[in-house]
């Protein structure tokens, strides 16, 4: 009997499992799409849908990194500023140094990784609160944006724009392609590797993880390194999208990433959550923004709605947890 039940659970395919786990948000997304398309049929046009996924891709990429941080009960508030820093650095390398594109991109990614590395070093080696550390590094990174650009924008040769504005097979926007590739990589990393399991173990119970011989320091360090690198990728994309390095690029983007995580149902208590649900959360946020713009709802009302939805998502998460505890 015991073995049979064990078998049954395993038999249900990962896709069905995914739908079951995210049923609430999926229904919400569907309802939202139906409602918006009833009022504005253009919403469902291929061009508009592609627009949504493109606008979603940066939030999603950031969200993948944020997911790791939140699972271990941390947070990376420096992501937005790291986007700005990498974007400025990339533009500076191209225009002021005259570096070839590939070198500029690689060095910008390196800067992103370095930011993550430093965050990780502080958080892994000292018992510091992630919120405060990354808030501080947010300010520092934003400051460096202005140091590099001296407060102005740096224009980049228009041909660099291909990287962020181009299309694969003339249909799929390139940022979406990057996002999908990173999605697969991060998904495999979190759900299939030893590293991924260790992340869940640390998030679930750091003490038990330590007693089980897991190197908490190394895992924490790597998580922030990954988060920084992903922010670097977003920085390069956003630099290419507008072909300028702007010191304000990526401002407050980290909050969209956090929102995507919580909307996707990642527990604020740590130890739970998946890359797939973050992607879904980012899509919901993007669809919401796009739909409301189409319905000509002013941006300040959009913010109110967004905030309300995030609050509701966390509220239901907590209520669910308490219900489970009672049983």
């Amino acid at each position: 009997m015991n073995r049979e039940t064990a078998g049954d659970i395993r038999k249900s395919s990962p896709l069905i499992q995914y739908i079951k786990n995210n049923i609430g948000i999926l229904i919400g997304l569907l309802l939202m799409c139906i409602l918006i398309s009833l009022v504005k049929p253009q919403f469902l046009a291929t061009k508009n849908l592609l627009n949504i996924v493109r606008s979603v891709s940066i939030t999603a990429i950031l969200g993948f990194g944020m997911t790791l941080c939140i699972i271990i009960m941390g947070i990376d508030l420096s992501q937005g500023s790291v986007i700005g820093l990498c974007s400025c650095f990339c533009a500076w390398m191209i225009t002021n140094v005259g570096a070839p594109f590939w070198l500029a991109v690689i060095s910008a990614l390196f800067i992103g990784a370095l930011c993550g590395f430093l965050n990780g070093a502080l958080l892994a080696c000292f018992p510091l609160p992630p919120f405060v550390v990354t808030l501080a590094s947010q300010l520092i990174a934003r400051g460096f944006c202005y140091v590099i650009t001296r407060g102005n924008m740096i224009n980049v040769d228009a041909s660099f724009g291909e990287l962020g504005n181009g299309y694969l097979f003339q249909v799929i926007p390139l940022p979406v392609v990057y996002m999908l590739v990173l999605f697969v990589l991060m998904f495999l990393l979190l759900s299939k590797t030893v590293f991924g399991r260790n992340v869940y173990a640390i998030g679930g119970n750091p003490e038990a993880a330590r007693f089980s011989g897991i190197n908490i320091k190394k895992v924490t360090w790597l998580i922030y390194l990954i988060s920084g690198t992903l922010a670097g990728i977003c920085g390069v994309i956003s630099c290419s999208r507008v072909t300028t390095g702007q010191p304000t690029a990526g401002n407050a983007m980290e909050f969209d990433a956090v929102a995507a995580c919580y909307l996707g149902g990642i527990s604020y208590m740590g130890g739970e959550g998946s890359i797939g649900s973050t992607l879904l959360g980012a899509i919901v946020l993007g669809t919401l923004a796009n739909g409301m713009s189409m319905l000509q709802i002013p941006w300040y009302v959009q913010n109110i709605t967004k905030g309300g939805i995030i609050m509701a998502a966390v509220f239901f998460d907590v209520m669910n947890k308490q219900k489970r505890k009672k049983i």
């Binding site: 015991n2 590797t193 399991r197």
Partner: protein
Amino acid sequence: MEATHSGIVLAPEDRKHEGLILAQTVTFNTVIAILGKLIKGIRLNYKRQEKIITDISRKLRLKTASYDTKVMNLSGGNQQKVVLAKWLVTNPQILILDEPTRGIDVGAKQEIYKLIYEIVGMGVGVILISSEMPEVINLCDRVYVVREGKITGLLGRKDLSEQTILKYAIGGIGHE
């Protein structure tokens, strides 16, 4: 951590805080200390994992609806068995049990005692840390009495009694 690699493992006293990841499944908790052997890159050796878990849970008579049940839904005794399972699958040479029966009902305690005998039968040396007199007297071959961080007495199997243990524990009445 180094001790884990050399075959000495500790099942800690406070299993909910130090031993288990309650929100994860029986499988997750059981193989957590041997993941390196089961996963190569992104490939999980599913058959081997399955075999390890069925073997150990049969040996420990673990009662769970499935191996995908979350540990928080198990009874105290079965949770303790998952802690034991986690360490036994690492093939330890020495297993340190710190208060293994704390917070477990009487029937399950007997079960844990039986298991400790069986674990010893498998060739694992067990160091039992306990403050329960009957537990110590019935299970141990040799007892060190520790008082305020110092070993105050060593008792062999034949001198074991509540009185002698208490004598050392209280502080050597015999010496006065």
